[in-house]
Symmetry: C2
Amino acid sequence: MKSERMTAGRPRASSRGTIEDAAAELFLEQSYGGTTIDEITQRAGVSRATFFNYFSSKSDLLWIDADHAIERLEECLGAGAPLLEAVATVAAEVGPERVPLAVTQADAMGTREELVASGLVRVARVTALIRTAMAAESGGDRRALSVNVRANAVAGAIVAAWGAWIVGGVGRRGLRDYLSDALALV
Amino acid sequence: MKSERMTAGRPRASSRGTIEDAAAELFLEQSYGGTTIDEITQRAGVSRATFFNYFSSKSDLLWIDADHAIERLEECLGAGAPLLEAVATVAAEVGPERVPLAVTQADAMGTREELVASGLVRVARVTALIRTAMAAESGGDRRALSVNVRANAVAGAIVAAWGAWIVGGVGRRGLRDYLSDALALV
DNA sequence: ATGGATTGTTAGACTGAGTCCAGAAATAGA
DNA sequence: TCTATTTCTGGACTCAGTCTAACAATCCAT
């Protein structure tokens, strides 16, 4: 299902990782807004068109780890795991090294609109996952007001916990502790 | 404080309203993604640069009414009104004609990403307002996890109620009814 | 080997959003 | 009339994102 080399065709160069590394360097040197896709691909030694073979937008680079976690959550839920268990499972996989680039860039650029918007798109995805999972568990309509309200509350708690974990205690406490605190409130 | 004509300077042409009207027409004719800012300003009989005198981005046009409501909420909260009362006050001012363009355009737009992102930016603003209001009322730290979780939940309930009001019952029930239902759940 | 078929990579042109700036136009007040 | 102030305009510019046709590297079948 993944990138198993089972078929013909030109093999991928190491493009994806190279691009990620080049971007991370440049963002630290010049900030997110100050670096262009051209610069990233030049440093990566790759053509500009290749960038869009691997990422659909520049801001995707900021959320690589978050997107990975969201995919994992989707997998767990798709495999039939109950909601809170799936959340806990994914949270356990998220180590302290997984602080997304977006956060380190947040200071350097104030609250840039594009950063906020690209991050919120991820929040919306998580919320959608939770909504369908909750509807499935409770047997209710996915579009019912009560389901929406509760899904928003749970998603909000997860995001708040994740944010607190990042700003406050990546080293001190695990993400799971923050999560259980937050989820206890809803 | 507002736009009281008290000082000198060239008076504004009716540009803002003209642009809004032209945009609304074109969005209905061609969809949001299918119309350019050039087309909007041409139909409005105004230069392209003028557009950015009145709006900071194309997607602002989709959220004019929502932004107005958010401003009102901010005013009420700034005047010292308690949170739930301020929300109710603003909700009472929102009539059925206030269904934002964004919603009518949701179908017509091929990729809804931009629409979602621009809408979520508004959600984030509301959440920020609620967070500071809640911190002020409870005397807690605005950055505390509990405050964040509860603010997210309340904001999520408001958004869910607003969405249900739009899709389900603009004509049948008032926004206030949906709001009280949703807020009762958190 | 030879020749597809398939997939990754590239160059280049193109669209459109958003920024910037210098200057013209329209007003109020001195 | 002159000046300060504000809006409006045209044009040039940067950059993200799309698209396409060609090129390169691989596998497989003949």
